[in-house]
Symmetry: C2
Subunit: 190 residues, 2 copies
DNA sequence: AGTATAGGTGAACGACCGTTCACCATGCAA
DNA sequence: TTGCATGGTGAACGGTCGTTCACCTATACT
């Protein structure tokens, strides 16, 4: 019942990137009076489905547009009705530290296979100067870009692939670290 | 200059989940008059940084809260000033089909190693009845949950691990597919 | 039957919204 | 030096906001 209303708000927020006004909600819920909306909103606030600003305006709570975080695989999937008390987050907040500096690249080749990064995977990278040793970096060596571990020896920095089939890369002229890999994302299906 | 304003709006939207009012923007930008704000907003609209609703209200454009999608690794990282014409998306929109049915689980063990899913990875799963053969599923077999390929032979469904160290699992009593893996997500660093 | 109660309508309210106007200050170009 | 964009202030405007009031049903409970 009230879940329908919450779902409607969720959909509206998803497509408009803001909460509807009371007048819009009246249309949305099929009411002719804003008062009917106000009563529904009160219930939604009580239920914690939405919150109100310092001045009246609605804002989605953490329940909106978020994904539930569970424990280990072994714990399994909860039944639909026992989904209380789950931690939730948006993927963006969870994965992205510095939005302006972040990019997604698609991985080609098998040179990082043993690190669990395979052809077709996406990597979320962050353009930064502060790559640490051992990080997986997107680097430009002698004119072309690759994805490798950043290592260092007495000669200086070099790149190590995550696949024994390939050799380490010692830069001939110069090497530039463009970005550090923060996450790997693999999509299945379509 | 105007990028500062855009960034301020981005921050506000990120924390409040809505666009600020003109009065709030005046404070935000350090103006004393809403008119100064209106002029800035006009420029932002012209620049495509925000859009206006059917009635005045601001909404973030696709440029807000999104991540740039690039091509293959080999293409490398673009310089900061040549970031035009990139496809962008939010991770949530990109990865999540059915939000209500989606969960994130943490992977334990190495039984899907050859599928590029290693211990500590997260899987974004979707609770569904329509698992297809070959999908990686979260299934309950004889009381405990595992992550495996869904297969079928003349005896019926069974599970196949993505690691030759382990054997196929033929359910003794019953097997229940709880969810299908839609994405794998691996995070580096803290 | 009588009567709370929940859920809806319709109209009115003050407050604040986004917009606009007149005006002022600065800096650059003619 | 004059002229004129540019970028700001402050005040005013109608419109819509969220809220509230009185009132009208149904349904459920004595």
């Amino acid at each position: 019942m009230i879940n329908d209303h919450k779902a409607a708000l969720d959909r509206f927020y998803g497509s408009h990137k803001r909460m509807p006004t009371y007048a819009e909600m009246a249309t949305l819920f099929g009411f002719k009076s804003k008062n009917a909306v106000a009563k529904v909103v009160d219930k939604l606030v009580d239920a914690g489905a939405v919150v109100k600003d310092h001045l009246g305006r609605l804002a989605p709570t953490s329940l909106f547009g978020e994904v539930k975080m569970l424990g280990l695989i072994e714990a399994g999937i909860p039944a639909a009705h026992e989904e209380e008390t789950l931690d939730t987050t948006t993927l963006d907040e969870w994965l992205i530290r510095d939005r302006e500096a972040s990019f997604i690249l698609r991985v080609k080749g098998d040179s990082m296979e043993e690190a669990g990064i395979i052809e077709g995977d996406f990597v979320l990278v962050e353009r930064t100067e502060k790559a640490k040793l051992g990080d997986i970096v997107v680097a430009e060596v002698d004119g072309s870009w690759t994805l490798k571990y950043l290592r260092q020896n007495s000669q200086g920095y070099y790149l190590e692939p995550g696949n024994k089939k390939y050799r380490n890369i010692y830069p001939e002229t110069d090497m530039r670290v463009g970005a550090v890999v923060r996450s790997v994302i693999r999509r299945y299906g379509k």
